[in-house]
């Protein structure tokens, strides 16, 4: 299958070129840095809640108030969705022709589904005791942790598995 021309069009746009080639410190690496901060918020907050659901710190930490952490997770996700789009505008061929990118998105989608399911299943019924709440989330918490590790791993692997750096340009050594 030929690489769709639209990627070249995007890469030749003013915005895409600016992100990649600007001398400003607020170009590509700034967007990448914000993407890392977003993941720290999203994965960090979800990890904290998962650990509590799995029983760590449970002796005196009420579970109900941890529902507030989902807002942090959604802010982290929002930051990463926006920065992610800008990263794709900068290097569309590189990402969209790399199967690893689609695996990463699938892992994230699954992790978000688990995250939402955790919110409704564990924190949905305020009449439940903390113990009952946690019991409803054990499998979800384990899946959450595993999926975020998968998302981080596939994300990291993108830099090592791409075929094209730009439309028509293979990766160095490729």
């Amino acid at each position: 299958m030929d690489v769709p021309q639209i990627f070249q069009t995007i890469e030749q746009s003013g915005l895409s070129t600016w992100i990649r080639e600007t001398d400003s410190l607020f170009g590509f690496y700034f967007i990448l840095a914000l993407h890392t901060v977003g993941l720290a918020m999203l994965v960090g907050a979800n990890t904290f809640v998962d650990l509590r659901i799995l029983g760590f710190g449970s002796a005196a930490m009420p579970l109900k108030p941890l529902k507030q952490y989902f807002s942090i997770m959604w802010w982290g996700f929002a930051i990463n969705a926006v920065t992610g789009v800008f990263l794709l505008i900068a290097y569309p061929t590189k990402a969209f022709t790399n199967p690893m990118f689609y695996i990463k998105l699938a892992c994230i989608a699954a992790a978000i589904v688990v995250m939402q399911k955790t919110k409704t299943r564990v924190f949905g019924d305020s009449n439940l005791s903390d113990k009952a709440m946690a019991a409803r989330g054990t499998t979800l918490a384990v899946c959450s942790l595993a999926l975020w590790v998968a998302a981080l791993t596939t994300g990291r692997l993108l830099a090592y598995t791409y075929t094209y750096l730009f439309y028509g340009h293979l990766a160095p050594g490729g």
């Binding site: 410190l25 840095a33 993941l39 720290a40 990890t47 760590f56 930490m61 108030p65 981080l152």
Partner: protein, 171 residues
């Protein structure tokens, strides 16, 4: 850079261990992957604690949250190990990179911040913070500094690639 660093860094770059670190891109990818997992553990726990001191999710008592600090330490240790191995793998690259040293400085400051928290009695003041109780201003300052420093560490880490070769080797 002091002039004695260059011969040391060049020597390190030519050791078998250094070459081993960069031999396989999959090993490098694995180390960097662990580095991100470590940061997630660190930020997840320390971020929650800092935010609590700053007033977020105040209905959680502080002491049980603090019980999760070992996970943050595990995260930090993972990053310390992978960081040292990465440095050994590419010593010239990191030594002459401004962003790398700024990142190390930020980590040092974060460490000093931790020291201040535990050694000046601020921790003792917030240890018993119950549901709904506000942390004293000293704790808020430390928590805000902690958040600022760790976010700086993350961002500076991403800029290491940008600031390659920005320090003169003084040869």
């Amino acid at each position: 850079m002091p002039s004695f660093t260059h011969p040391f860094v060049v020597w390190l770059a030519h050791t078998k261990f250094s070459e081993l670190m960069v031999q396989s891109k999959w090993w490098w990818a694995f180390m960097m992957d662990m580095h991100f997992i470590g940061l997630s553990l660190l930020i997840g726990v320390i971020g929650a604690l800092d935010l609590r001191m700053l007033g977020f999710a105040k209905d959680i008592p502080l002491a049980p949250m603090h019980k999760l600090v070992p996970f943050a330490i595990v995260g930090f240790v993972i990053n310390l190990i992978t960081g040292v191995l990465a440095f050994i793998g590419m010593p010239i690259f990191y030594t002459y990179d401004t962003a790398f040293w700024l990142k190390m400085f930020a980590i040092l400051l974060a460490g000093v911040n931790v020291g201040v928290f535990y050694l000046t009695g601020v921790f003792r003041k917030v240890e018993g913070l119950g549901a709904g109780e506000d942390a004293p201003i000293s704790a808020k300052l430390i928590a805000a500094s902690s958040m600022f420093l760790w976010i700086s560490v993350i961002m500076l880490g991403r800029y290491i690639q940008v600031f390659e070769d920005t320090i003169s080797s003084g040869r």
